[in-house]
Assembly symmetry: C2
Homo-oligomer: 180 residues x 2
């Protein structure tokens, strides 16, 4: 990141430096300018996800969000390379991931008509972010699969890794979104 | 944190400023000085955890780590209050959590005699950190339970939340540590 000047970024993007600074504020800002759009995409993905079990709803929301990320795949890959090469940007990336988690929790709580403090909502959001991280690892590993496919595979992997279903009610369906 | 001077910290701890700076380097350093000890505690907890299924091993390691954390419960509660009151410390805390995750992954890989890149090891470590975060939330919420009990309850909650066991092999036992 230090090796790249704003002038070079502007030249590559075909914009003037004034436009750049008006939009992004700082050189680092360009890497995090996507934040509000991604948070909106999370809210929309949850709103469109099927209800049913909480696990189905979470999976649907993550797949919907993956479709959004897919559209921005090229930018994400570039962003990924810059952050990997600049460890100082990692801590800010971790804060962004925590924001995604909070947004996912808030949207799930709204869709389920439960308070933000609901434990299942918290678990779904935290595990959802781990699934997204795993999907990115898989995708970055040079697979030909789409981000949507990577999210689907990571979701299944999570269920197998931690799922010790000692209660038959939790087989095949997860916990009902709206317990009777 | 800004409101507290090094002098006040030293007075409260009964040490001189020279000792403080020699040990901690900076005012923020005091909050993160525990890092190497906690990483060592994670390695030891994994080394002592029962083998068997990967889920059993992960649970055992997390419970062992909780026993270590319990000994430092008072410091952790104080640290927690300082970080909560100073959002600027959050990003550094997130980096520390990522370090714990990497240490847990490395220790699990060593105990299982698999490479660090093993997907199950990665999943166990990532989910392990979510379980620890959930246990802290539970503990901080004013329960009378010990950290060990909170970790046990959070582990069970994780399994119920995400566990959709469609394969009978994964019932009651998780994935074997050393597949035949």
């Amino acid at each position: 990141m230090e090796a790249v000047t704003v002038e070079q970024i502007c030249a590559a993007a075909g914009i003037g430096p004034a436009t750049f600074y008006r939009h992004f504020g700082t050189k680092d800002g360009v890497l995090f300018a996507y934040r509000p759009f991604f948070l909106e995409a999370i809210r929309e993905a949850v709103a469109r996800a099927p209800t049913g079990t909480t696990a189905d709803q979470l999976e649907g929301a993550l797949l919907g969000f993956a479709d959004y990320l897919e559209v921005h795949a090229e930018e994400l890959a570039m962003r990924d390379r810059i952050v990997t090469a600049n460890p100082v940007l990692l801590s800010r990336t971790l804060l962004v991931q925590r924001e995604w988690e909070a947004e996912l929790a808030g949207a799930l709580a709204a869709a389920r008509d439960v308070p933000d403090t609901d434990p299942t909502v918290w678990w779904n959001a935290a595990l959802g972010l781990v699934v997204i991280r795993a999907a990115f690892r898989r995708w970055r590993g040079g697979t030909t699969a789409t981000l949507r496919q990577c999210v689907g595979e990571s979701f299944a992997e999570a269920a197998v890794t931690i799922g010790r279903c000692t209660d038959p009610e939790h087989l095949h369906g997860g916990v009902p979104s709206h317990p009777a």
